[in-house]
Symmetry: C2
Subunit: 115 residues, 2 copies
DNA sequence: TTATATACATAAGAAAATTATGTATAGTGA
DNA sequence: TCACTATACATAATTTTCTTATGTATATAA
């Protein structure tokens, strides 16, 4: 992850969501996918990505399967059952974060004024 | 800051934006304002807030002025010129972050498909 | 007198990044 | 051929930013 200092804490969310969309991905593929989707604005660094993947696996949210492709090893990750549940949780947290930030930033758009 | 682990890095943005809206605030007041605006969902802890305020002051984005109110000391913070500029930067970063997260989460809403 | 609210502050530790480095294969341009 | 870039994994040292705990002090309500 790089450039913006706001995205700290969102890497797990990104990984889980990518795997919900794509079923099975390897680390390097995730970095490229995010770069592509955000027009190069979010660059996931390996120093952040691999420890995060290992942690999610250790927590039982991801499972791995190693494949040999052209003399090169790829480690494919996919969601476990609890990983799939965690995606919903992370999405709700992101939603709540954005709404709360909007309340702080746009204090004039206040539902309590709509009388 | 507590509860959501997504908001790391957003405390500076919150502080700067509050001071843009309110001109002059003291630390405790900021914690109460954020609690009020987010219906108690974001709680800024003192252990996070005060070091952040000191850092922003050291960077020249905030200035302070101490006031005596009812035998109690209040340290009022306000934006410097470069602090005011930094608000715009932080707002643009937040905007970009949200847009990029939407691109990752909603890959089907892709402008390039609109041919 | 005990708890809560107001108001500041710092210290120890944890979490999550950045930056740097390392290994290995493969292709491309000078 | 040599250097650079891309692919693909990984870890270590360090930094940033937070949590949790603690400390000081005044004031008020139960």
């Amino acid at each position: 992850m790089s450039n913006s200092n706001l995205i700290k804490g969102s890497l797990q969310t990104i990984i889980l969501k990518l795997l919900e969309e794509n079923d099975k991905m390897y680390g390097y593929e995730m970095t490229q996918k995010v770069k592509e989707l955000t027009a190069g604005e979010i660059k996931i660094t390996e120093g952040a990505l691999y420890p995060a993947l290992h942690k999610l696996e250790a927590e039982g949210l991801l499972t791995t399967e190693v494949q040999q492709v052209d003399n090169r090893v790829r480690k494919y990750y996919s969601l476990t059952k609890s990983g799939k549940k965690e995606v919903s949780t992370k999405m709700a947290e992101l939603q709540a974060f954005v709404e709360n930030m909007q309340r702080i930033i746009n204090p004039n758009i206040n539902p309590s004024l709509k009388f």
